[in-house]
């Protein structure tokens, strides 16, 4: 992608032939170089093989099988159908609905969940009673598995004896069908996602906030900036990198959402909470339409990739030299 790291003088000292050495030193230098190459290979190869075999190869396999009609049995797929799986997918209401629902979850996360996490992080950053306890508490759901969360909330949102409707009943409200009403189920899902994930984003923001020197806020205060202005013009811009990363993780998480949906609703009622991953699972593992399910995987992959690269290129560029971009600027 970028100029090879060999351009860096300091790092060269290990593999390069010694500078200024006479020709007599050449053979031993070459031997040393070979040994170093051996070390590099030996150290890198196991990780590379595992990664290539179990991360990269499956993606290639998905691309390949997406061009076939295949029930997954009997050796290699034979029934080549070209792009039929993809045209079928984009004509399928369920899949197009998946895209719409994914976009809805992303929008809700960005508009409600992340601002909430940011506000709470700012709150807990102040001196207040019990803030360590609150921090610990708000983050706790993140360590619970999605399945446990899902089963727990299925109980809470069960229509008759569930806790949610019992509480509403106290106020004399006849509780809704949280998980069985197609028009409500996405909101319920988002509520559970907020319960589980807002603490994670809050922790990110808290860490980012702690990286901002106190003096900046104090200087602004001396200049007469009130709390809101200090937040708006000092803290918020300096939190930029953290916010961008948290947005990124939120979007990628929404694209691959499976566990929580599968346990809460399995995509129902009548597909009204289905996500791409659930559609893929239904076709791939329940209906043995491996070719079509692979095509769904490929679209998920392309969406993630385009988003990730675009985001890296246009949004994160200023922050993370070194992830996708070159590392030279760091040194």
């Amino acid at each position: 992608m970028t100029p090879p790291a060999l351009a860096d003088e300091r790092r060269m000292t290990r593999t390069g032939p010694p500078r200024g050495a006479g020709p007599a030193a050449a053979p031993s230098a070459r031997r040393r170089r070979f040994r170093l190459l051996g070390t590099i290979t030996l150290f890198l190869l196991p990780a590379l093989v595992l990664f290539a075999l179990l991360v990269l190869a499956p993606i290639a396999v998905a691309v390949y099988t997406s061009a076939f009609k295949w029930n997954g049995l009997g050796g290699l797929p034979r029934n080549f159908v070209g792009l039929d799986n993809f045209t079928r997918m984009f004509g399928d209401e369920v899949f197009v609905g998946d895209l719409r629902r994914g976009a809805l979850l992303i929008a809700l996360s960005l508009v409600i969940q992340l601002p909430l996490a940011l506000a709470i992080a700012m709150l807990l950053n102040q001196r207040m009673r019990g803030r360590a306890v609150y921090r610990l508490l708000f983050f706790a759901p993140y360590v619970l598995s999605e399945v446990i969360t899902g089963v727990l909330f299925t109980m809470i949102f069960s229509p008759d004896a569930g806790l949610a409707n019992q509480i509403l009943g106290l106020a004399g409200i006849d509780g809704p069908q949280w998980l069985a009403d197609p028009s409500l189920v996405m909101m319920t899902l988002f509520l559970v996602m907020t319960w589980k994930y807002f603490g994670f984003h809050m922790i990110l923001y808290l860490a980012g906030r702690q990286g901002i020197p106190k003096e900046l806020g104090e200087a602004a205060a001396i200049d007469g900036a009130g709390p809101w202005k200090r937040f708006r013009y000092v803290t918020l811009p300096l939190l930029g990198p953290t916010i961008r990363v948290s947005v990124f993780l939120s979007v990628i998480g929404a694209i691959q959402l499976f566990d929580l949906v599968w346990v809460l609703t399995a995509g129902g009622p009548i597909h009204s909470s289905e996500t791409m991953a659930v559609t893929m699972f239904q076709f791939g593992f329940k209906r043995s339409q491996i070719g079509y399910a692979s095509a769904v995987s490929v679209v998920m992959f392309v969406i993630s990739l385009v988003f990730a690269l675009g985001y890296q290129r246009f949004v994160l560029r200023r922050d993370t030299e070194g992830a996708i971009t070159t590392m030279r600027a760091q040194r």
């Binding site: 992608m1 070390t39 150290f43 399945v147 205060a221 566990d259 992959f301 993370t320």
Partner: protein, 289 residues
């Protein structure tokens, strides 16, 4: 308030409503805290009720207390078996991913060679692939390899998908160790492997702890992969067990709540012990990824 912003040189007299702010802030976090805690408490207390009590007496303490929901689970073999499986798989995954990643991160951090950036980029790109994308072909692949109903079928892919994050965190830590340390070691006759094994890894213990905690939590909570790999109940992990138990006793809410609570205990206990590493790892991963 106590803010040092008294640079406004306000008179020391407090505004008559000065208490409004701290009180309202407390109110906000208390409401949010209740939002988090009430479901957990509901499960904990509900597990001691029977299902009839849950609908007639949803908010009060159980009367009578029904410990059988908990004891039944604790005296059934399945629950312990799942704990054992989850533990084994988490430990094996962590050992593999941390071992391989520290070797690779060592090379990425401290050697220069052609193609290094390209390879590193390859790994970082892996960071963006949702697990869900690869699961179907992974299943086909593992079936071909005969790794269905085999713990390796879960351990190896988990390790592979853990590599990018672990390598990124470890590489940045390895790079922070001064060059002089390595030069001194080389002068004393240390080989690169000796430096890696005897100096770098011991120095990197905090970072290794961080990535290990991350790997353990990720593996412990993984559901999708075990779901498609393990058919045999003998290999079920805790999340699979929870899901299965829920399917089996779906009308017996109290019993399920008890199971859910017991399944939470190891994760919450681990969180209590390793909170610092977990938070450190997540924030480091986020800022470096």
């Amino acid at each position: 308030m106590t803010a040092p912003a008294s640079a406004h040189a306000r008179p020391a007299r407090r505004h008559p409503l000065w208490w409004l702010r701290p009180v309202s802030l407390q109110a906000i976090v208390i409401v949010l805290g209740a939002f988090i805690v009430v479901p957990l408490l509901f499960a904990l207390v509900g597990g001691f009720k029977d299902t009839a009590q849950l609908s007639t007496n949803p908010f009060g303490l159980p009367s009578p207390w029904v410990p059988e929901n908990y004891t039944d689970v604790l005296f059934s073999g399945g629950f312990w078996r799942q704990l054992l499986n989850s533990t084994f798989i988490a430990v094996a995954t962590t050992a593999i991913v941390v071992g391989l990643s520290s070797m690779a991160a060592f090379v990425f951090a401290r050697f220069a060679f052609r193609g290094r950036e390209l390879l590193f980029t390859l790994f970082t790109v892996g960071l963006m692939f949702p697990f869900a994308v690869a699961i179907l072909p992974l299943f086909v692949l593992l079936r071909t390899l005969g790794l269905l109903d085999n713990p390796l079928g879960v351990i190896l892919p988990q390790a592979a998908f853990g590599l990018p994050m672990t390598i990124i965190i470890l590489r940045s830590f390895f790079r922070s160790i001064p060059r002089e340390v390595e030069e001194a070691a080389t002068i004393d006759g240390c080989t690169s492997f000796g430096f890696f094994w005897r100096i770098l890894l011991p120095l990197a213990r905090p970072a290794l702890g961080t990535v290990s905690v991350l790997a353990i939590v990720t593996s412990w909570n993984n559901f999708f992969l075990p779901l498609v790999i393990f058919n045999d109940p003998n290999w079920w992990t805790v999340p699979l067990g929870v899901q299965q138990f829920y399917g089996q006793y779906s009308s017996d809410t109290a019993r399920i709540l008890a199971y859910v609570v017991l399944a939470m205990v190891p994760a919450l206990a681990f969180y209590a012990v390793a909170e610092r590493q977990l938070v450190g790892g997540l924030t480091a991963g986020a800022s470096k990824g």
